[in-house]
């Protein structure tokens, strides 16, 4: 039966290859036409006609998309999703997605929009269409209240804790060769190193350190935004230009009323605090 096992393995491999090829195909062929294509996206008219828009959000990534103890969706992304449905005058259907399946949900048009803390990257831009950003993420530096580090230059000659493989590690290695890096495999190891005073400060994504400082009195995020800034934006199925344009207009219009500052106050303030400079995280009118 060994021979048959091999046949089984070969066919499994073939199925995998074929399905990968199918993914690639969809990427290439989904031009602007879209309408009649398999797994095709819905136009705004279709969404309005059905009276319902489906938006993919996280269900366990507080404070962006999560489900509260009453079983209701909450968070920065969800707040925006509700407004989109309201302005389109349609019902909102939220679909829980995972980081690993966000692109597929759009490619197969199982959702109209993804609003799941989706960082814009070059590679993803080839697979989905990103609208204007509504949030941004950069590096932050957290240090003890007794010796707050308030600029990156102050770190020269000091010891900075980083987690291996993060943007922070690369950024400081390349731009601040005089900073001594103390590297850890895990976030919790890094945080306890900071608490034990084994390093002068710790750097990683600003959203991460801000939230941590909020729940750990005695520590302050002295540097709230550093290094290259990543944009976080809504995404639609590649080629759904109409919906994309509508979203861009919506984001611009919402800028006038400072909608995302209100969103921050309603959802992020509890986690990042009121003292933070909101403009380090919030993007209004799509302008970074």
């Amino acid at each position: 039966m060994n021979f048959l096992k091999k046949i089984g393995a070969v066919i499994s491999a073939a199925i995998l290859t074929l399905s990968l090829a199918a993914c690639a195909n969809t990427e290439n062929s989904s031009g602007a036409s879209g309408g009649s294509e398999s797994g095709s996206f819905r136009t705004i008219d279709e969404i309005k006609a059905e009276g319902r828009i489906t938006i993919g959000v996280f269900s366990d990534k507080m404070p962006f998309g999560y489900v509260d103890n009453s079983g209701d969706y909450q968070g920065y992304d969800v707040y925006f999703a509700r407004r989109i449905a309201q302005d389109l005058n349609v019902e909102l259907e939220l679909v829980p997605v995972e980081a690993a399946s966000r692109v597929e949900f759009l490619q197969t048009a199982k959702v109209d929009i993804i609003l799941a803390n989706f960082t814009v990257t070059e590679e993803r831009s080839r697979q989905v269409d990103f609208a204007l950003p509504y949030m941004k993420v950069a590096l932050g530096v957290v240090s003890p209240d007794s010796a707050v580090i308030s600029s990156a230059d102050e770190l020269n000659g000091k010891t900075l804790i980083v987690v291996k493989g993060t943007t922070a590690e690369t950024y400081f290695t390349e731009n601040y060769p005089d900073v001594k890096l103390q590297k850890y495999d895990e976030y919790n190891e890094a945080y306890s190193a900071l608490q034990d005073g084994r390093g002068d400060a710790f750097s990683t994504d600003n959203t991460e350190v801000l939230a941590w400082a909020m729940s750990n009195p005695g520590f302050t995020v002295g540097v709230e935004s550093l290094g290259s800034i990543d944009a976080i934006a809504p995404a639609v199925t590649k080629g759904n230009t109409e919906l994309l344009d509508w979203l861009n207009e919506e984001i611009k219009a919402l800028g006038e009323e400072q909608f995302f500052h209100a969103d921050y106050d309603a959802t992020l303030a509890a986690v990042y605090g009121d003292t933070v400079d909101k403009d380090n995280l919030v993007v209004e009118g799509g302008e970074m």
């Binding site: 089984g8 995998l16 399905s19 999560y66 103890n69 679909v95 829980p96 399946s101 729940s215 509890a270």
Partner: protein, 224 residues
């Protein structure tokens, strides 16, 4: 004990239970289909036809080699990409678990029948039992007895494996647990252990009676 109160906040207990129901429902429906289709497959597999033998064997190997997660992705996203048919997450999950269950049940049925000594067939036939009666009264009851513990075992594995369906947007008990932990991670940083303990208990409450039955059946079989 700090953190345990998270289980009783808001609707959390009810949400965990309805997540468990999603889990159990998926497993039950899939097992139901698997039993029917798997019995047919098993019957086909007992045929001595070499072509049938090779085809069924290859099917079995494919199912066993393919990780269930990959399978879920292929059915949930791949089918939509290829045909445009938009399957829901639950339907995709039932299809995947049924394909898997059918292969496993088929193989179990085949080996259960294979394990019945040739003399059982011959002595039944010698008594003048027609083929139908021979299977009905002599072969099926014996095969079933060997089969039941294994089927229960498979059901339990299926219940555990349903945790994967959160990747295709179906919220089952483990996902509900993660949502509860995450929503309370600042207020109750120690909630995780209690939520996982509760989920463990729920799984246990479902699986323990099954494993008891299975063990009892296996024992009874060994006695006879």
């Amino acid at each position: 004990m700090r953190g345990i109160e998270v289980l009783f906040l808001g609707n959390n207990m009810l949400r965990l239970l309805s997540g468990l129901w999603v889990t159990v429902r998926l497993a039950l429906i899939s097992i139901g289909f698997s039993l029917v289709l798997g019995s047919a497959l098993g019957a086909v597999m007992t045929l001595k036809n070499p072509v049938v033998k090779v085809l069924t064997r290859v099917y079995l190997e494919i199912i066993r080699i393919m990780p269930q997660l990959v399978f879920l992705f292929i059915v949930f996203f791949g089918v939509t990409k290829l045909t445009g048919a938009n399957l829901s997450g639950e339907v995709s999950a039932v299809i995947v678990f049924t394909l898997w269950g059918t292969a496993e049940v088929g193989d179990l049925v085949r080996s259960a029948f294979g394990a019945i000594p040739k003399h059982q067939f011959e002595s039944g036939a010698s008594l003048g039992l027609s083929k139908l009666r021979l299977y009905l009264y002599v072969i099926f009851p014996q095969a079933l007895r060997g089969l039941l513990p294994n089927i229960i075992n498979l059901s339990m594995r299926m219940i555990m494996t349903t945790a994967l369906v959160s990747l295709i947007g179906v919220t089952e008990v483990l996902k509900v647990g993660k949502q509860i932990i995450d929503a309370n991670r600042f207020d109750y940083p120690n909630a995780a252990i209690w939520v996982y303990a509760a989920i463990f208990l729920l799984y246990f409450l479902i699986c323990f009676p099954l494993s008891l039955i299975s063990r009892r059946l296996a024992k009874r079989r060994a006695d006879k």
